[in-house]
């Protein structure tokens, strides 16, 4: 099975007790008077990433998913905790070692407009990492060409500027830059959320292809669970700076254990009028990370919260009876409950396939789709 294969793989990254607090102030005068507030963006987050897997970090705004990624990359210095990559703790690297680490681990950003320097041609942008690391001397032009080709851009356009490209193309440039020095590990921070829907699939497929080609391990950050389902092997669900549930993708979607995961799955607007009727919104809003609730941080919004939840801050623990590695942080989860998730409907989307298009001169296509339409209809309405 795919799963056992995965657990056989070597752990490449180990995040242990990662904590990141931001202090809000306007300058050192404020600091003198101690007029500061602490935003607890990430609280004691631990997880492991295996070589070659795609792990998803999912959560709403303020969940700390992006900060976790930035802390891993040392773009933000963690307040506490360690990040071990390939045996070395990257939180305590010297500048020189850090540079070497950054050759191995690269990032794709959310907003392709902002992440590309607007006064540089895309050729210069893709060449930059090679210059920084002094790689591919003498063959950089060739490498730029090759990379542009790989991400689906015409190499003739290397002298153009980012604003001359569409959003999807700019994201391709960002991916080409990330791959320029052949990293082992890619952090993708919401790589498709700024793109149009018809373009998203192109970029997601591209990432998939490149993962195989470059043998990449991917940390994929997203707020959209549907995207996560398609690209990730494993998923960690974050809420208010903490991981509340982590599991293999299939099991997480089929049998979510934490009430927040369930609510999140339930809140997703599904592109199907039958299913969409059953949305049950979660009440309340995400509390401020400056002053998170005592006990379990989800308890004010949780439909199953009890008095205990107000005082006990649950740890992430293996769910009894679930697959190894399926952990959740909820005191009310005693044993594995396989219900409550999303069921797969494989045939569902075939009706949109080109061969089922009701073509003006293809009467056979019409009959196929008619019967299928009838099946799905009865299936869903019961």
């Amino acid at each position: 099975m795919e799963v056992s294969q995965m657990s056989d793989r070597d752990t490449i990254m180990k995040v242990n007790g990662l904590t990141k607090h931001f202090t809000q102030n306007d300058g050192f005068i404020d600091r003198l008077f101690d007029a500061t507030k602490t935003v607890k963006a990430v609280q004691d987050v631990s997880f492991e990433i295996s070589q070659g897997e795609t792990i998803g970090l999912v959560g709403e705004s303020g969940s700390g998913k992006s900060t976790t990624a930035r802390s891993i990359l040392q773009l933000d210095e963690p307040t506490a905790g360690t990040v071990t990559y390939d045996g070395t703790d990257v939180t305590s690297l010297s500048a020189k070692e850090l540079k070497r680490f950054r050759k191995r681990i690269q990032m794709v950003f959310q907003d392709p407009a902002s992440s590309l320097n607007r006064r540089k041609s895309v050729g210069q942008i893709i060449r930059q990492p090679m210059q920084i690391h002094g790689l591919y001397k003498g063959e950089r032009d060739k490498r730029v060409e090759e990379l542009m080709e790989q991400v689906g851009l015409s190499p003739e356009h290397s002298n153009r500027y980012p604003h001359e490209f569409s959003g999807g193309q700019r994201q391709r440039v960002g991916i080409a830059r990330a791959l320029a020095v052949e990293p082992e590990f890619l952090v993708c921070d919401e790589p498709v959320s700024a793109l149009d829907v018809s373009i998203q699939a192109q970029i997601l497929n591209l990432l998939k292809d490149l993962q195989v080609e470059y043998d990449l391990t991917i940390l994929f950050i997203a707020h959209d669970l549907s995207v996560i389902r398609h690209v990730c092997d494993r998923v960690a669900v974050m809420y208010l700076g903490e991981i509340v549930e982590i599991a293999e993708t299939e099991e997480l979607f089929a049998s979510p254990q934490h009430p927040y995961t369930r609510a999140l799955l339930n809140a997703i607007p599904e592109p199907d009028p039958e299913l969409a009727q059953h949305r049950q919104p979660l009440s309340g809003e995400v509390p401020s990370p400056i002053d998170p609730p005592k006990g379990c941080s989800f308890h004010p919004r949780c439909p199953d919260a009890t008095d205990e939840c107000r005082s006990i801050d649950p740890d992430l623990e293996q769910v009894d009876g679930a697959m190894v590695g399926h952990e959740t942080a909820c005191i009310h989860v005693e044993s594995f409950d396989s219900e409550g998730g999303i069921t797969l409907e494989a045939a569902n989307r075939d009706r949109y396939a080109p061969e089922n298009f009701l073509h003006e001169d293809g009467s056979s296509a019409r009959t196929v789709s008619e019967t299928e339409g009838a099946v799905t209809k009865t299936g869903a309405s019961e």
Binding site: L264, F357, E360
Partner: protein, 346 residues
Amino acid sequence: MTSEPILEVENLVTQFHTDEGVVKAVDGNSFSLHKGEVLGIVGESGSGKSVTAMSVMQLIDKPGYIKAGTVRYKGEDLLEKSKAEMRQIRGNDIAMMFQDPMTSLNPVYTIGSQISRVIRKHTDASKPEARDRTIELLGDVGIPEPAARVDDYPHQFSGGMRQRVLLAMAISCDPEILIADEPTTALDVTIEAQIFELIDRLQEKYGMSVILITHDLGVVAGSCDRVAVVYAGRIVERAGVEELFESPRHPYTRGLMRSIPNLRSSESRLTPIKGQIPDLTALPSGCSFHPRCVHATEECTQRDPELRAVETNREAACIHALGYSNPATTRTATDSAATDGGVSNE
């Protein structure tokens, strides 16, 4: 349909003059909105979905202008109204709700004073009356302790709460039509669900008709009765929501439905629509979707298909769509029976 349309847009053309040429943001679109229905306008960026709404409200700024068409509201053409008349209609008859709840509220006034002002502008309510009404509205849109929060400033509210405030403002004069332009795009998914539930509830309570503009097919499926799919300034397909999702007739709609990541499918590769959204200043010849279409033929590069009824209650602008060359009225009885069931307004 059982009721008369409350809003009828016909052959609307809105253009923008730019350095790159004339952008046909809305290119001859027609649609109608019936009493009590939710019409979805779905499309990607550059499809002209927002411009359509802004044209109805006549909020198009230079270098854009409405070139042609009629926007009939209760039988009167809004495009022939004076500016003063339009100001009365906006807010009072047709209200709008924007995407960004951060910039749609004025940061220097309390939310109470902003809502009261709208009420006092359109009715002859006294100040205390307007304030009472404001508090009532804030309660209606689910803001806890409305009497206490009415004097708060926008920055004291979260994004979701601000969107509720905007909704309260939009319904403050009991409008006939609410135009919601991507009302939840800036919000988290759990908050989005709350807002849509709220819109649903208010729509019933106030008997509004709603035009919902979105890029999210999931939102369309959950909230709309009828849907218009726009691509490159044109409506390419229009149908009841059930029909649309069950078997879309336009290749673009089909491509879109197939390309979006779906919760209920675990296939590791998605099926994207090839190519990219065309530049509106240089649209392809013939059908603007043909360069990206899997069914495109030679004819598609020449012929620009108009939106045509291909079945009862279903229109498409594709020469290859079944029923395109035959009039829709000859469709079989089973078809119309199926469609009727899906579209009636409960």
